[in-house]
Point group: C2
Chain length 463, copies 2
């Protein structure tokens, strides 16, 4: 036999069992998004490279999959470039199109391109694969799905609150216990103002994050090493030692940042979101005794600093060691890169692949989703098959996923098929059953066999 | 403002309204496939070019979208090739991967690659986009979805019957009146044997197809022109003039092809499928007075001759002028190209884009699918919004897709938003309503306003 065919590294096939689980994830997210008034869009897998290039930094440009132009792709190419290594410049001469790298830039492009048709605020969600020429490793793929929801054209913090609610509802439906971390870019800006060094904010958050592990002295030493002057380190002490409830933290921060207008605005924003979130996820609102997932102010949260401008959030699973499984935030100029400035937006993105890993590890999938075919009719030959077909039709009409083994193979083979596919019920009809107008229905879990009419079979399989 | 961004030609954005319609199509097909025991798989967008090349003919190779290798893509490239036009040889040196061109070859690759895990017969369906560098034109796109179902590992004609049932059920659910055309490759082989010229079979079917338009004499003249000798044309007369019911046609063909074992086998196969299909789509089986869609033997049907080996089918919409909207057939060696010979299969493929066009033209979409958000809460300010939030939560808990306008914009703007989005209900609460613990619910279709409690609102919107 020839060499077994394979797929490109970093890509995956999804078989029926995996698809059932993935569909469960996507369907859950999709229906919660819809419940909150978000509407789905889809954009093409290929975008013009001019749309994608320069949006993800120099490293991102390199990770774009580029599509070779059709026809004579060497026409008009700079001969000089052909003699060296394959350069980025040559690549953009050979390729006009690339595969989308995320859903955010295509969404920004979509909003600008279709702005005349859109009614703002626009609440959209999008669940599609993206492609990155990253080095593949455990949990990192070259093709993976993103599940994004964004509201553009509204500055209201209610959008932030609703996105937190969506996160809470989705993970509640999955049965995954999570903690939502919230921070605000403006608070970080306030801290940078405080110490007079905006470029050190990453060093600071990284150092603060280590407090539990290395202790206060080591953190302060690290800050000094990073070139932060002693007076600034002194001022940072209340931030590094920040603890207590969200309210206590906010009160401390209000004191520390009392001279930064931007910082205070960030504190107000977080305070509002925390307060409203508490209200809408209270037991009376959610109908759950335990209320919503905890929402925690975390000053070390600093995702995508160059991108976000207001609240930022991240979700951690409480019962599995894994990175952030959802994230997002507010940006004030998403569409500016395409010549439409001043449109504010806020969005979240569920990490489907990590959620898949968490659900697998905690075995949280509902039993029902893994059952594909519910009933198999055994095939004893042409006459018996003809006898079974009307009953099969009746089952399907009743919404039961059912099939007949297509060939009159040996009984053992057919039962093996039912077992391999975890089909819970098998129907048999030989001479005796046919004479009585009945079927023997075997429950594959208990082994129990009962003789039933077609109608009784429908009811039994359904229940 | 900068130039409006755009997308590559032949690709499309799908906005919320289009997505609702497309999801309706995909969900319908998906649930019927599942009802018949088919299970979903997905394969990567990118396949190794070695998997794709040579599978779609020379023309197909040219239409593959190829992905430029990452890093130094010129390494190891033949310098000679760089001095000429962009050649196919050079393309395969620059590119290892390509976008999938259809779902059939990736499925064959999947079956061979995963053969140890699969229990045969394997009933799979797959709904994913494919990409072709075709010249874009009306109704032909460079990115489009295919919706395939196949059974591999079973020779039984019951599979053909079930696939016809699936076609019937899907179009019944859509409300599209169709006629299913069936033919058999073996019958066409029999005809070729009869006239002693296998390579003329396409000319013959093309000529026969024109009978209604140009008349018998012109058809015979065309056959002679195509180089078919007079005695053979004589023998073809009963085939050209074939008419009547399926049974009458089969009886005639049985006579004409009495000396061709292959031809007679093809006739038997078609006869079996027709007979079983009639049985399973009779009113008693489908629960519909009109029974199933008509299934017609059509000798002019000759799709993919080099590929199919048994029954072939195609579906025509009766009320719209459009090409085939679904097709398929039996093949005996799908996986042979990947070194796993002898695996027979049969499959169908729904043309989602054409079905979309048909549904649009006949306006057959159910009303319900176009309603996204069912209820909008008007936002009069912070206090009023806070009053509305628990009711909003209650609505969503009851499964109602609801939202609150995020900003306290002018009433007119908020109502325009509700209208533009075709939201059927709007809830308002000002001082009066808040004092009474109620809401004014406006039915946007009738204009009727009623004062209700949150619970009454849930019931009213639901009904």
């Amino acid at each position: 036999m020839a060499q077994k065919p394979s797929i490109p590294k970093g890509t995956r096939d999804f078989g029926p069992a995996e698809m059932a689980r993935r569909n469960y994830i996507f369907d859950t997210i999709r229906s919660v998004y819809a419940l909150y008034g978000f509407r789905q869009i889809e954009t093409p897998a290929m975008e013009n490279l001019s749309t994608l290039m320069g949006k993800y930094g120099e490293e991102g440009d390199k990770l774009l999959f580029k599509i070779l132009n059709s026809g004579d792709f060497l026409r008009g190419v700079d001969a000089q470039e052909l003699s060296g290594e394959g350069s980025p410049k040559l690549a953009s001469q050979l390729c006009e199109k690339g595969l989308r790298y995320d859903l955010t830039v295509p969404f920004a492009r979509y909003v600008v391109q279709h702005r005349e048709e859109l009614t703002l605020p626009f609440r959209r969600f999008q669940i599609q694969p993206v492609w990155r020429a990253d080095r593949p490793q455990k949990g990192r793929y070259r093709e993976f799905y993103q599940c994004d929801a964004d509201v553009v054209g509204s500055d209201s913090l209610l959008n932030e609150v609703e996105l937190m609610q969506i996160i809470d509802e989705v993970f509640h439906r999955f049965g995954i216990r999570v903690c939502i971390k919230i921070n605000n870019r403006k608070i970080l800006t306030g801290i940078a103002e405080l110490i007079g060094q905006a470029d050190k904010i990453v060093d600071i958050t990284v150092a603060i994050d280590k407090l539990d592990k290395i202790g206060l002295d080591a953190v302060n030493a690290e800050l000094a090493e990073a070139g932060i002057p002693q007076p600034a380190i002194e001022q940072l002490q209340p931030i590094i030692n920040l603890s207590g409830t969200n309210e206590e933290k906010l009160a401390t921060m209000r004191q520390v940042l009392k001279d930064s207008q931007t910082g205070l605005k960030g504190i107000d924003e977080v305070a509002y979101v925390l307060q409203q979130y508490a209200l809408v996820t209270a037991p009376a609102s959610t109908g759950r005794v335990e209320g919503g997932a905890p929402l925690q102010l975390d000053l070390t949260l600093a995702r995508g600093l160059n991108y976000y401008t207001g609240c930022i959030f991240e979700v951690k699973a409480l019962d599995v060691e894994i990175g952030s499984i959802t994230g997002g935030g507010r940006y004030d100029n998403l569409t500016g890169i395409f010549g439409m400035p001043g449109l504010s937006g806020v969005g979240i993105s569920f990490g489907a692949d990590r959620i898949y890993d968490v659900l697998n590890q905690l075995e949280l999938y509902p039993q029902a989703i893994t059952t594909a075919t519910q009933l198999l009719f055994v095939n004893f030959g042409e006459t018996e098959a003809a006898y079974a077909l009307p009953a099969l039709a009746a089952c399907r009409r009743a919404g039961i996923r059912a099939e007949i083994y297509p060939d009159a193979s040996k009984m053992k083979k057919q039962m093996q098929y039912a077992n391999a596919r975890a089909i819970p019920f098998v129907a048999l009809a030989g001479e005796t059953e046919m004479a009585d107008g009945k079927f023997t229905l075997k429950d594959m879990n208990t082994g129990e066999q009962t003789v039933v009419t077609a109608q009784e079979m429908v009811e039994k399989v359904r229940s």
